[in-house]
């Protein structure tokens, strides 16, 4: 049984989602997942019905996760948002936040483009505020050299076992170190990593602001490229949990693209893939000891994937390393939601219990897979953050690998 039947009538109006929605808890402006999702969807199916508070849904997916009846509530919201924007134009703010890939591409093409863009970004926060991007939001700077460029310059050891890596925009343009850590980890496991440079943004930032057609075009491009590999049984791996969710789940929930189900079977989160290697006895377990302590934050978009918290389990294999699950709910950022001027305070309020727990832990670094979660945590709790793959690589290196 698959779960992408967007049937609002499966909703029994039990309100479990209302009790678990972080946005509803943070603001009474949002009428809540049950009302805005399945309840109003029944109206929308018969005639256009505009619900102003729909804009408050952050697509964090806690409603979907809590629903006892398997209703993809957040997806109904995203489809309704897309429908709303079929006849209306998004704000300039939403256009910019959804098209980070375009800006990043331009910056990466020019010499010193990233540095100039970063300087420009820091100077133009006032202008951004005018168009509705919070001047307090933790916008990520561009990396001086993108992941794709760094990867191309890397000489990998060739192995018969291969995986395709889907870096996604954040790792490619903002945090390429995570991608390089992943490649090093796979090399330590005698895998050769393939990166396709024609892949595009997964579409997650497009969907949340109603650019559904563009997201679908991206989906088709990505599936076409990745299917060449998955058809041969070669796994596709992501380190970003929102990209992962989009590529395998939301593509199926939102679009009708041929072959998507077969392709989705071969998509893996990096942590999950390595744990499966462990189960098969194929994982390189020569981990060097790391006598360090961290707190772990599980991104909502990982929890929504129905595979538990694989990276947390994986890090448990590293001797000396202590990683505790913060288990304090959504961080609030939800992709580009928390960057918006009118959503910034809501996002910070959602994240407050997590920030509090981090502060109480006394630990200085939080581990999490999601790039924007890490931005929000760094901003809200004033701590350092890193991706689990960075620790796995560090452990291998501690053992001289």
């Amino acid at each position: 049984m698959k779960k992408h039947f967007n049937n609002p009538d499966s909703c029994t109006a039990c309100t479990v989602c209302v009790a678990h929605c972080p946005v509803s808890a943070a603001t009474n402006k949002f009428r809540g997942p049950k009302m805005v999702g399945p309840t109003l969807e029944r109206m929308r199916l018969s005639e256009e019905d505009v619900e102003p508070s729909l804009e408050y849904c952050s697509n964090c997916k806690n409603c979907d996760m809590s629903c006892p009846s398997g209703v993809p509530i957040s997806t109904l919201n995203m489809l309704a948002r897309a429908n709303y924007y079929k006849t209306r134009k998004q704000s300039k703010r939403d256009y910019i936040l959804s098209h980070g890939e375009q800006a990043a591409k331009m910056a990466s093409m020019l010499p010193f483009g990233a540095a100039i863009a970063n300087l420009g970004m820091s100077m133009s926060r006032g202008i951004m505020k005018q168009i509705g991007i919070s001047d307090k939001a933790p916008l990520p700077p561009y990396a001086s050299t993108s992941f794709i460029k760094q990867f191309k310059a890397l000489r990998q050891q060739s192995y018969p076992d291969k995986v395709v890596f889907y870096p996604g925009c954040f790792i490619n343009y903002n945090d390429p170190g995570v991608g390089m850590d992943f490649v090093a980890v796979m090399q330590a496991n005698q895998y050769e990593v393939i990166v396709e440079s024609d892949l595009v943004c997964c579409g997650s930032p497009l969907v949340v602001n109603g650019f559904l057609d563009e997201a679908e075009a991206n989906a088709k491009t990505n599936i076409q490229i990745l299917k060449k590999w998955t058809d041969q049984g070669i796994p596709v791996i992501t380190c970003c949990t929102s990209c992962g969710l989009m590529l395998k789940q939301e593509y199926q929930e939102l679009f009708h693209i041929e072959g998507v189900e077969e392709y989705a079977q071969h998509l893996y989160d990096a942590g999950e893939f390595l744990l499966e290697l462990y189960d098969k006895g194929r994982l390189n377990t020569k981990f060097g000891a790391l006598n360090e302590q961290y707190l772990y934050h599980a991104p909502c978009h990982l929890r929504a994937q129905g595979m538990g918290l694989p990276s947390l389990e994986l890090l448990g294999l590293i001797p000396g390393l202590e990683v505790k699950n913060a288990d304090a709910g959504c961080c609030g950022i939800s992709g580009n939601y928390g960057f918006k001027e009118d959503k910034y305070d809501i996002a910070m309020k959602i994240g407050a219990p997590l920030f509090q727990k981090i502060k109480e832990s006394g630990l200085s670094t939080v581990v999490s897979e999601c790039g924007t979660c890490r931005l929000q945590i760094g901003h809200g709790a004033q701590v350092k953050t890193l991706h689990p793959m960075t620790l796995v690589r560090k452990s291998y290196e501690a053992n001289g690998q």
Partner: protein, 420 residues
């Protein structure tokens, strides 16, 4: 290969209790959960047994236990284990700083938002009605703009309840001023009271309408966290007794209970996989080796020594009704149901009879192992808890959380005893 000692399918009350018991015994436990269970729909109090037949409530849960039929889960579990489960539960609550009160020898009659009294067994101390019985004046406090709590409905109906007809009733209202564009629920008011500012604001507003010494019925709004911080602060500041009603979902008291139990099992190291739709099992020679989830991407296999099935009967997908038969989809356990499905429902909805469909479920032995038609154990390392069990109509009996608690406990203990 990763393997768990106990895999629990379902993260509601039955599953959480089973996980807690097994983990406390040192087992490595993993919960596979689809949805957040139903604790926030109707949870918060533990009904053990209110009615056995439709004529009158039983005097105490223990008195009712003497009258139930042999196929009832409580008969399988036994009163000793039921009492152990209550003790276990109350120890968790006390340890977590949110103690519950009640026992099998006393019926707790808690007020509802409809102005009735509902029989139950274990309640948080904010539902202690001792002062309500004693007082000659009952104050009902409502919140402006709050949906589903109408003080006049309570006062109007309370005068018809024996023992409450001679009391005086007063209605007072305060305005939390939190509407901001949507209907206000008890959950919203409780979240307001979670904050220091809201609690201060509410205390000041209440002080204007409540006299010290008042006994006050109010909706379940005394904070969303599993503690008595809000109740204690208000009672201290206003010198009043506050009694929360049972109310409609989203259930604040249920949320407190869920938060507390999740926190407890996670402290014991219980693993948790959300969005895990378990669809089938791998069985060899009468023993389950693994269960398999169907993700939107692919299947995942979870290996274990013991498996506890606590995925909520028809509502949770633990049982599936088809024309003429009821199926348990994961292990294909035998479910006896009348082959004529016309006989499943009592079409007289408000009659004094239970619903036949509610009693459809899986037959088990005293260890909660599923039984076949021949009365023999079908799978030796599978145990069944909660709504998948046959022989009780929780709605009619007011026994839902009690069966979940006791059967969850028994399952957890069985996984432990099996290893000895």
């Amino acid at each position: 290969m990763r393997k768990n000692d106990v895999i629990v399918i379902g993260g509601g009350l039955a599953g959480l209790l089973a996980a807690a018991v097994a983990a406390k015994e040192g087992k490595k436990v993993l919960i596979l959960s689809l949805g957040a269970g139903t604790l926030t729909i109707g949870g918060g109090i533990i009904d053990v047994l209110g009615y056995v037949d439709g004529t009158a409530p039983v005097a105490t849960p223990r008195a009712g236990l003497l009258k139930i039929l042999p196929e009832h889960p409580y008969k399988k579990i036994g009163t000793v284990a039921l009492e152990e489960s209550i003790k276990f539960f109350k120890e968790i609550c006390a340890g977590e700083g949110y103690p519950y009160m009640g026992n099998l020898d006393e019926m707790q009659w808690v007020p509802t938002a409809a102005g009735t009294l509902k029989p139950t067994c274990l309640v948080p101390k904010t539902m202690n009605t001792a002062e309500l019985k004693k007082t000659d004046t009952v104050v009902v406090l409502g919140f402006e703009a709050l949906k589903d709590f109408y003080p006049h409905l309570i006062t109007k109906n309370f005068v018809n309840i024996p023992g409450f007809s001679n009391k005086k009733y007063e209605i007072v209202m305060i305005d939390p001023n939190i509407a901001d564009g949507r209907d206000v629920t008890a959950l919203d008011v409780a979240r307001w009271l979670d904050t220091p500012e809201g609690l201060k604001d509410c205390t000041e507003k209440m002080a204007k309408v409540l006299k010290p010494g008042s006994v006050v019925i109010l909706p379940p709004v005394l904070g969303t966290r599993p503690d008595y911080h809000v109740a204690d602060s208000l009672e201290k500041a206003l010198q009043c007794t506050f009694i929360e009603t049972a109310s409609v979902p989203p259930s604040v008291t249920g949320l407190r209970l869920q938060t507390m139990l999740l926190r407890y099992v996670k402290k014991l190291g219980v693993g948790f996989v959300e969005q895990a739709l378990v669809t089938r099992s791998i069985v060899e020679k009468g023993k389950c080796l693994a269960v398999v989830t169907a993700g939107i991407d692919r299947e995942r296999t979870y290996y274990g020594e013991n498996f506890i099935l606590a995925n909520g009967g028809f509502y949770g997908g633990g049982l599936v009704a088809e024309p003429g038969q009821v199926i348990e989809p994961i292990f294909n356990l035998p479910v006896s149901a009348p082959s004529d499905h016309e006989l499943w429902a009592n079409s007289n909805l408000f009659s004094n009879e239970p619903q036949p469909f509610a009693k459809i479920g899986i037959d088990v032995d005293e260890k909660m192992r599923p039984l076949g038609e021949d009365g023999k154990v079908v799978l030796a390392n599978v145990f069944v808890a909660g709504r998948n069990l046959q022989g009780y109509d929780f709605c009619f009996e007011k026994s839902g959380n009690g069966v979940a608690l006791a059967s969850g406990y028994q399952c957890g203990m069985s996984t432990h005893r099996e290893r000895k």
